[in-house]
């Protein structure tokens, strides 16, 4: 007897990933924006001003 195989559609899989991907993407975007504050304060490769020896 041949088993009735109903394959999940690619659209359904995409939709399922969008349901979780959109909020996650929004969260990552917000966090990245926040992280930019670090790079604006300390440009890559730059060293902090030296602290005078105590």
């Amino acid at each position: 007897m041949i088993e009735d195989v109903k394959k999940s559609s690619a659209g359904l899989i995409l939709l399922a990933w969008l349901v979780v991907g959109i909020p996650l993407g929004w969260g990552v975007y917000n966090t990245l924006l926040n992280s930019m504050n670090l790079f604006q304060a300390a440009p890559a490769g730059a060293a902090a001003p030296a602290v005078p020896p105590k």
Partner: protein, 462 residues
């Protein structure tokens, strides 16, 4: 209760042709929601101003009173995961995820009344106890299902789900801030309505997970995949009962592995913002430090996916070998990057993000390690019990860091150099984890489930 019969394990068995790629989004839906717990701190200031609105007034709650809400939630996470893990194995992931969603949302709703009636015990009970129970159930509910769907890539599968827990705070924090700003007015800080809306939103997203999750049919395996025939010493084809596993040295060695890795990670997380500001005084201010904390969150999340997936190729034990050997060296070097030594912000940030990626990776790789050692039958239940290591680390990490720092400062050390002792202590902790990982050996066959017991367990999920 016929209405709820759709939650039964039998009703969640996948039909032929059901794509396994629908299962990770179901698991992610749960973890993205419960990961909100790490964003609870955004409510702390508003909750101290419920009466005063613009500032704390007499009768308003203090920060130290509110700190118990988060602690209770994390303790309940560990306790409920340990307690309900075995029930979950029989009841199935759908029922457990539904229970998790109900508890988590109910926690917000009870807390809503706690805010409007200004009764702190209701928030302890709601978000802390009831919501915390939902956290534990939700955390472990999709683990064994994912491992069964992805026998070829268990690390990848559990890494995807547990990555969601890391990402949950990234959603929960801006969402709560935006909602509180929307509901805020001259008489209300907006917390109560935010709790209500978040409870509804999270329940809806978790229900997506409940309806989407499926367990594979008996005997299912991925197309064109055969179980490796090559004998791999640390990957068993047998199963160990949760109660038996609890008595094996392997369980306790992994408990130490998780506890030390988490404690060390918390050492950075707990102090991230003040540490970067004090090590680079004058160069890094509070705003930039906030950016640093955000960057750590991103790498914590990414590390969960990256390291757990990598462990599928290099093995679990070598993965933790990297965490503990590289981690202890990096913790030792971290204070040397400060302004009074190498004076490199870039190096400090680079080392910190690598360490945080390994902290997240430690969480995400442990379910696959458990599966390798104890088999798939009770892996969620065993994972649940192992999470008590997290509860202990959640208390131990901050206590160690704060106590050591205060002790150093009280004995004349300046704020920047006090970090050196703390971070070196974290390096020592990782050495303990390193030894525990090295000692992990395959589980002795005297602990294996009998074939008959394994079969009867399989029969229950046909």
């Amino acid at each position: 209760m016929a209405l709820l019969s759709f939650l039964d394990r039998e009703r969640s068995v996948a039909h032929p042709g059901y794509s396994r790629w629908l299962v990770p989004p179901a698991a992610l839906a749960i973890h993205l929601c419960i990961g909100q717990v790490y964003a609870f701190s955004v409510f702390k200031i508003p909750l101290t101003q419920l009466l005063g609105i613009t500032k704390s007034a007499p009768g308003d709650w203090s920060q130290s009173q509110l700190a118990w809400i988060f602690s209770l939630a994390i303790v309940m996470l560990g306790l409920s995961a340990a307690t309900f893990g075995k029930w979950l194995e029989g009841a199935g992931p759908r029922k457990a995820m539904f229970a998790s969603a109900t508890c988590f949302a109910l926690g917000f709703f009870i807390s809503y009344f706690g805010v409007i009636w200004h009764q702190l015990w209701l928030i302890y009970l709601g978000y802390g106890v009831v919501g915390g129970t939902g956290l534990g159930l939700g955390y472990i509910s999709p683990v064994s299902t994912l491992i069964k769907w992805f026998p070829d890539r268990p690390g990848l599968a559990t890494g995807m789900a547990i990555m969601g827990f890391g990402g949950g705070a990234m959603i929960g924090s801006p969402l709560a801030i935006k909602l509180m700003a929307y509901f805020r007015n001259a008489d209300d800080v907006g917390v109560a309505k935010t709790f209500l809306v978040m409870g509804v939103l999270y329940f809806a997203l978790m229900m997506f997970g409940v309806f989407t999750i499926r367990v594979p049919r008996e005997g299912w395996k991925p197309e064109n995949w055969t179980a490796p025939v090559k004998d791999q010493k640390l990957i068993t084809t047998h199963n160990v009962d949760v109660n038996t596993a609890f008595g094996t040295p392997q369980f306790w060695l992994l408990w130490v592995v998780l506890c030390t890795n988490v404690t060390a990670g918390i050492g950075i997380l707990e102090q991230a913002s003040p540490m970067i500001q004090e090590l680079f005084k004058g160069a890094i201010g509070p705003v930039a430090a906030g950016g640093f904390v955000g960057l750590l969150s991103l790498f914590n999340m990414a590390g969960r996916f990256f390291w757990a997936s990598t462990s599928d190729f290099i093995g679990r034990k070598p993965t933790y070998f990297i965490f503990f050997s590289l981690g202890s060296v990096l913790y030792y070097l971290l204070p040397k990057t400060g302004a009074d030594h190498l004076n490199s912000v870039v190096l400090f940030v680079t080392i910190s993000v690598v360490l945080l990626s390994m902290y997240g990776g430690g969480f995400a790789t442990i379910p696959a390690y458990l599966r390798d050692l104890f088999g798939t039958h009770h892996v969620s239940a065993i994972h649940g019990r192992l999470l008590t290591a997290w509860s202990v680390a959640g208390v131990l990490g901050p206590v160690l860091v704060n106590y050591m720092r205060e002790y150093q400062i009280a004995h004349g050390a300046d704020k920047a150099s006090a970090y050196q002792t703390v971070l070196h202590l974290m390096a020592c902790l990782l050495v303990i984890g390193f030894v525990a990982n090295i000692l992990v050996r395959p589980v002795d066959q005297k602990y294996w489930m009998t074939e008959a017991k394994s079969q009867s367990r399989e029969g229950a999920i046909k």
